[in-house]
Symmetry: C2
Subunit: 471 residues, 2 copies
C-alpha cells in the first residue's frame, strides 16, 4: 500500500519526467543548436568552446517546459564590449529564422524559440575556477560539478522539487520572484537526498539556514559570518558565493510554510495550482466594500526595460511610495505591484482610511529641556499652523497642527506629479509616472480591472490575500 504522499509524487513524476522520445528530441535540438553556434562563431573568427549547460545538460528539465542553454566560452582575452556585441551577433546568426528575443542579465544574451522550445545562447569567459570575470562564467563549473553526482533517479527528485516550487510560486531567481534557482534545487536534493527530504527539512527550518555541502568552511559559524542572506547554500565551486543569494525572506518563509502544508495534506494542487478565476465586477465591488479600507491604484504606462531591471525599479519605487505614504501618517495595510512587463504597471496601496483628520499631534521637547521648550513655544503659540495647544502631555510640550495632506490621493498626486524621483521613485519608473500616472480608488479600479484580465486575476488574488495552496 502506498501513502497519499507517495501516490501524489508518483503522479507528478509521470507528468514531469520526459519520455525517452521527448528527451531525444530535446537532445537533438540542443546538438543542432550547438553546431549552429559553433559554425557562427567560426565564421566570426571567435575561438569559442560551445557547450550545453543548465537543466538539459544535467537532465533535470521539466517535461512541460524544456529550455536549452547553449554557452559560448570565449577566451579571457576578448574585451568586454566585444564579449557582448560579437557574441550576440553569433547567437543571432545561429538562430536565424527563428523568433529571437534579446535579453539582458549582467550582459546581453539571446533567447529564441526553436521548434516550440525556448533556447538561450549565452556568452561566458573560459576562466580558471575562481578567476571569474562575468557572472555566467561559473555555469560550466556548476554543470561539471552536478552532472556526475546526479543519477537518473536523483534527477527525477530535482524535477519534483522544481515543479513543486513552480506550483507554489517560489521558483526562479529573477528579481520579480526572488526565489529558488534550478541549480539551488539540484544542490538541495543532493544535500537532503530526495524531494521529500528537502520538503521535510524545510518544514523544520527555524533559524538561518546554512548549507555547506562541500565543507568549504570549518564550521557553521565561519560560514555564517561571511554571508548575510536568510538562506545560505555555499556554492560548491566557489566558497565565496551563496547560491541562494537571490532568495528573499518572503519566498523562503513561503517555502517553509508550504512544505508543512504539503506534508500534512499532499495534493496535486501544490504542483499544478488551479487557474485563478477573476471575480466579476459586482463581486469585486462587494469585496472592496466589505473591507472598508481604501484601495488605491497608481497606474502608469511605459518604462520599457528588461524584466530584472524593470522589477528592480518597480520594487524600489514601491518601497519609496510605501515610506512616503506612511510618513504622512496613513496606515498602509498592504501593498503590491503588478506589471504586464510591456506597458502597463500598477502599484496597489491599501490604506486604513483614505482621509485623516486635519489636525495632527506634533510632539515637542520634554519639559526638562528648557531652551528647546522655549523655542518650541515661540514657534507654535498662536501660529497659523496651530489648531490646538501647545499643552503639556506626559512631561512634554505637544501641539496640534494642521496636517498638510488629509487625503492620500492628494498626497500621491502632488508628490508624484513630477514622477516622484525626489521621494525615491526609480529613474525610468519616475519618467513614466510623470507622463502617465493615474490614481484610482476603490470602485474606480473597475476601469483597469475590466480592461486587463491578467491584472484582474492579480487583484482577485490580492483581495483573497492568501497563498493559492492554502485551503
Amino acid at each position: 500500500m502506498t501513502s497519499p504522499l507517495e501516490e501524489i509524487c508518483a503522479e507528478v513524476r509521470k507528468r514531469v519526467n520526459p519520455s525517452e522520445s521527448e528527451r531525444k528530441k530535446v537532445q537533438e535540438l540542443a546538438k543542432k543548436l550547438t553546431e549552429k553556434v559553433e559554425k557562427a562563431a567560426k565564421e566570426n573568427g571567435v575561438e569559442a568552446e560551445i557547450r550545453v549547460e543548465g537543466s538539459v545538460a544535467k537532465n533535470t528539465w521539466l517535461r512541460d517546459c524544456p529550455e536549452i542553454d547553449v554557452f559560448m566560452r570565449v577566451p579571457t582575452t576578448m574585451p568586454r564590449e566585444a564579449f557582448g556585441n560579437v557574441c550576440l551577433k553569433i547567437a543571432r546568426k545561429a538562430t536565424e529564422g527563428y523568433k529571437q528575443i534579446e535579453r539582458f542579465a549582467e550582459h546581453p544574451y539571446l533567447e529564441a524559440i526553436m521548434d516550440k522550445v525556448r533556447v538561450n545562447v549565452v556568452p561566458c569567459y573560459r576562466v580558471k575556477r575562481g578567476e571569474w570575470i562575468s557572472a555566467t562564467d561559473r555555469t560550466p563549473f556548476h554543470t561539471d560539478y552536478v552532472k556526475p553526482l546526479l543519477n537518473k533517479q536523483m534527477g527525477e527528485e530535482v524535477r519534483l522539487l522544481k515543479r513543486f516550487m513552480k506550483g507554489v510560486g517560489v521558483y526562479g531567481a529573477e528579481i520579480k520572484v526572488g526565489g529558488f534557482s534550478g541549480y539551488l534545487c539540484e544542490l538541495l536534493v543532493l544535500n537532503y537526498g530526495s524531494f521529500i527530504e528537502v520538503v521535510r527539512s524545510a518544514g523544520d527550518w527555524k533559524e538561518r539556514i546554512i548549507i555547506d555541502y562541500e565543507g568549504h568552511y570549518e564550521d557553521r559559524d565561519a560560514a555564517e559570518n561571511i554571508f548575510e542572506e536568510p538562506l545560505v547554500m555555499v556554492d560548491p565551486v566557489d566558497k565565496g558565493r551563496n547560491v541562494a543569494a537571490a532568495v528573499r525572506k518572503e519566498r523562503l518563509d513561503e517555502f517553509i510554510a508550504v512544505s508543512r502544508a504539503f506534508l500534512k495534506n499532499p495534493d496535486l494542487k501544490f504542483f499544478y495550482p488551479p487557474e485563478v478565476k477573476a471575480l466579476d465586477s459586482r463581486e469585486l465591488v462587494n469585496k472592496i466594500k466589505a473591507r472598508g479600507s481604501a484601495i488605491v491604484l497608481i497606474s502608469f504606462r511605459g518604462a520599457t526595460l528588461v524584466p530584472d531591471v524593470l522589477w528592480g525599479q518597480l520594487y524600489k519605487s514601491q518601497r519609496a511610495l510605501r515610506k512616503l505614504i506612511q510618513k504622512h501618517d496613513f496606515t498602509v495595510l498592504r501593498d503590491n505591484v503588478w506589471s504586464d512587463q510591456k506597458n502597463l504597471n500598477i502599484f496597489i496601496f491599501e490604506v486604513e482610511n483614505r482621509f485623516l483628520p486635519n489636525m495632527k499631534r506634533h510632539i515637542g521637547p520634554p519639559l526638562r529641556k528648557k531652551e528647546d521648550c522655549e523655542k518650541f513655544l515661540r514657534k507654535h503659540v498662536g501660529a497659523d499652523s496651530t489648531v490646538s495647544g501647545p499643552r503639556i502631555e506626559e512631561g512634554r510640550w505637544v501641539v496640534y497642527v494642521k496636517r498638510k495632506y488629509t487625503d492620500v490621493v492628494n498626497l500621491v498626486n502632488e508628490k508624484l506629479g513630477d514622477g516622484g524621483a525626489n521621494v525615491g521613485v526609480a529613474e525610468v519608473v519616475s519618467k513614466a509616472v510623470a507622463d502617465s500616472m493615474e490614481i484610482l480608488v476603490n470602485n474606480e479600479v473597475l476601469r483597469l480591472y475590466s480592461a486587463n484580465p491578467d491584472f484582474a486575476k492579480f487583484l482577485t488574488e490580492y483581495l483573497e490575500g492568501k497563498p493559492r495552496w492554502l485551503t
Copy 2:
C-alpha cells in the same frame, strides 16, 4: 526703579493681603465660632480642645477668600463612630442658623457660611505626634510647626504663591485638581525663602524633586526610596508622609512650565486669569470642523457624591473608557471629563476617526512556532471572520479579520449600555450611566453646549487646548 516682576508682585500683594480691619473681622469670627463649638461640645459632654487651624491660624489666607478652620481635638478614647456622629452633631449645633453643608473627607465634617465667610468645623484626635489615628490629626501639629517660622513678611510670600497657583489652576489637593495644598505652599516658601525663589527654583526642576526641610533623612537617596511621587516634600512633623503626595505629575509639570513663563513675562494674568469667553454656536461648529477629528461626548446624570469621591470615580471611569476605546483600535487624540458636581457629568473623547475599516490585521505566530501556526491556520483559513488571508508577513502568519466595532459610537453604546461596570467604569458612575447615558458626536454636542454655560466654557478651553496663561 523696580522691575516688572517686582511691580507685578507689589500689585498682587495689595490685592491678597487683608487689611487690618479685615483681619480683625475674620479673627473675631474665628473666635466666635471657637466659643460656639466649645459650648456645644460641653453640652454634648465631649471634652474637646477647640483650636483655629489652617490659613487663618497661620495668617496666610487670601483676602478674597478667607476660610476659617476650627478643629475639635477629642480624646483618643472616643470610638470612631462617635467621633464621626457626635462631632458632626456638635458642629451643627455650633453653626445653627447658618447655611450648613455636610462634607466628607476620610470622615464627615461640617462646612457653614457665617457672615459670608466659609467656615469648617472638623474633628480630630488629640494624639501624640506620630500616633495618628485619623487623617486630620496632623493638622494642629502643622499649625504649631509653621506658625513660629512664618513671620508677617513670609506670610505675604505664601499669599503670593497661593494666588499664583490658584490663578494658573494648580492649587488644591482635592482629587479634582491634584495640585498643591496650602500647607505645601507654606513649606515651599519656608524652603526657598520667597515666592519668587519658589518660582525660580520650580522653573529649573528637572528630575524628581525631594525636599526634606527638617532633614529627617540622611541624604536624598534615603528619602527617594521611601516615596514614589514625582514631588516629595517630607512632612516636618511626620517623616513618613509626603506633603505633596496629592500633586499629580500633570499639575507639577504645569507648575514648572508656568513658573518659567511667568519669570519670562511677569503679568497679572497669571494671578488673575481673564474669564473664559465661550465660543458662540457658529464658532464652535467651525472649530470642530476644522479639526477633522471626531469629538464624542458621553453624558450622564446623577452620581451624587461628595466631590473627592465623585472625581475619583470620574477619573477612574475616564481611564477605563480610554482603554476600552484604544483597545478597539480607535486613536484617542485627547480626552477629558467635566462635571457640574450636582447632576450633569460629561466625558469627552476625541478620536482621529469615528469610523475604522471593517477589516483589521490580526497578527499570528511566527513561522518557527510550528504547532501554533497549525492552530492559527485551522482557526482562520476559510473562517467566517476571515476577510483576507491568512498570509505570511515578516515571518509571521497574519490574517485580516472582521472588526467587531467600526463605529466608536456603537462601541460605547454597546459596552456602556449596562453602565460599563465590567469594562472598569466606577460603581456609582456606572449606575448613572446605565440610567441616563447620551452620546453626542461633533455638531450634536451643541445641545449640551448651549444648555450649560459652564460646560460651554470648559469645551471652549478644551478646543483651545492650551493653558490659559500661555499667550
